[in-house]
Symmetry: C2
Subunit: 321 residues, 2 copies
């Protein structure tokens, strides 16, 4: 839950007036998101989301994120569409922060995803990848394989306090992935963080994809395995191959996998598991005493990583060639 | 900011279905309120506020609060109106908590109230008092003069760590107020917490009164001086007699003061200042280490208390008889 910045009524009224969306009628800080401050804004023209970008977002990245949402929305993807102010700009300043207004999307994120949600997600992800093909900007993935060793270095000394032997296990995994990371796979814009809380549904109909603030340019299939990890394991840690098959088959109906992608799925999945394991571990080891926010459990991703190490081909994810 | 309880999409959909307000389309936790968890809920019938009552609210008081809002809304007061479920109940259970749905009110609370806001507040407060006259339930004010000594007892030993000499000053004030507290003033339902963040405006038009969870049965004029304290002092601590005059004159146009109320204003104002000084001091002395929420400064109300001790009659609040 997060509203890091207070916004005065008069300041917001002046900010909203730049968008030609009528008079400001109400606004409420939203207890969602951990990086930025978000407000639900009601004006005479409808409901919108206002985001103030806090210090964990690099302002130099904002044109990529905002431009991407606009591009995808124009291509028909159900994602927040940034509003243009009367001077044509989509980024402004409010309460001393970079700020943007985007359209409001109905729908709820699904706490217990079912098979049909996984299938809908697979289709939407492939559509997102296709829609991103002619987006003109690029952004390096700061958390790709080259970014994992520095993260590991920040956890190495204390990792065994979380799980005995973890430091060695991570070092071996990292060395393997650095040596075997697939190169030359089809690339493009990826969301890179499409966890259930970033996907809205109305019933089983997917109504919105949100939170593009990890989006970057990388292998498209890497985005797919991030979703496999986030959507296809049960609460007890068991891999649900039926959900993975539904997700992957729905995806490849829209964008078929190349042979190289098909072969790379297990190693990509290991990498995606290591990436979230490392960031969670890093945060876990740095929780300030008395913090109200409980960090996410890193061992959830250790279990996923171990599963993927046991996989030998795409068949282990429910695909049959 | 506050969402203490997570609500699952399926559970809320089932809860909303009881109200005949169409399908659930979205919900967001609101970063407002410090006692309860609040969600902005969108259904096919419009926007609503869902409140889950957390442990600081006594469930036995809920029928009073909910019944009062319904009564006032039916009398035309701009306040949240509780929705009746199909079985006629206005209170349900969600995520293990008592829960209610109320109508959504547009408007913003005013960070820097001006003269016209104070006048609109005075009128609305008098209308609230008149509308409450035939409300059939009563609730003792747990923070009336009889409740201050126990609060003081919990602060006495440490009060001087906040302001040297504070413990003695509070003891003397308390003894004075217990001996001189006015009795027999016109009573009824009071809001008891009508601070600026509980009053919504659209421009200078008052569009809503919210947060009735301190409402109780007490002297009506006591509610007025709570507002004088909350609305008519400037950020530098100076009393703004022009704002007080505007508030009081707008109030008495709707409900004239009796002579006894008129005479009692200074002592009532002292009591209202002491009540908020004591609760703020109590919270201030109990901030857990590392808490993210900054408690409100108790010395703000010490300055107000000292001002009221210097007042000798209603004339000091801008009234001329």
């Amino acid at each position: 839950m997060a509203v890091y910045t207070e916004v005065a009524d008069e300041d917001l009224a002046a900010f909203v007036a730049r968008y030609g969306i009528g008079r400001l009628l109400s606004y409420k800080g939203i207890a969602e998101g951990v990086e930025n401050s978000n407000f639900l804004v009601h004006t005479e023209a409808g409901h919108f989301i206002l985001t103030l970008y806090e210090k964990r977002v690099n302002p130099a990245d904002l044109p990529f994120f905002i431009g991407l949402m606009q591009h995808l929305a124009e291509k028909g993807i159900n994602c927040p569409q940034p509003l243009e102010a009367e001077d044509g700009s989509m980024l402004g300043t409010l309460a001393g922060r970079p700020a943007a207004m985007v359209t409001f999307l109905d729908g709820m994120w699904v706490r217990r995803p079912r098979l049909e949600h996984c299938a809908a997600l697979g289709q939407a992800l492939a559509e997102l990848h296709l829609a991103g093909r002619d987006f003109g900007m690029t952004r390096k993935n700061a958390l790709d394989v080259s970014g994992w060793r520095p993260l590991y270095a920040g956890c190495e000394a204390e990792a065994d306090t979380v799980v005995p032997g973890l430091s060695t296990e991570l070092a071996q995994e990292l060395t393997f992935l650095e040596a075997n990371w697939p190169k030359g796979l089809p690339g493009g814009v990826i969301h890179a963080d499409l966890f259930p809380d970033n996907v809205f549904f109305l019933g089983t109909e997917l109504s919105g994809l949100i939170d593009f603030y990890f989006a970057c340019t990388d292998a498209l299939a890497y985005d797919v395995v991030i979703c496999i990890n986030a959507w296809c394991f049960e609460a007890d840690g068991a891999f649900n191959v039926t959900k993975a098959r539904a997700l992957l088959n729905a995806y490849r109906k829209v964008r078929p996998f190349t042979e190289a992608e098909f072969a790379a799925l297990p190693v990509l999945a290991r990498g995606a598991a290591l990436r979230f394991l490392l960031t969670r571990l890093y945060d876990w080891l740095r929780v300030p005493p008395g913090a109200l926010v409980t960090p996410k459990d890193p061992t959830e991703y250790l279990k996923k990583l171990r599963f993927h190490r046991s996989a030998t081909s795409a068949r282990d994810y429910g695909l049959d060639g």
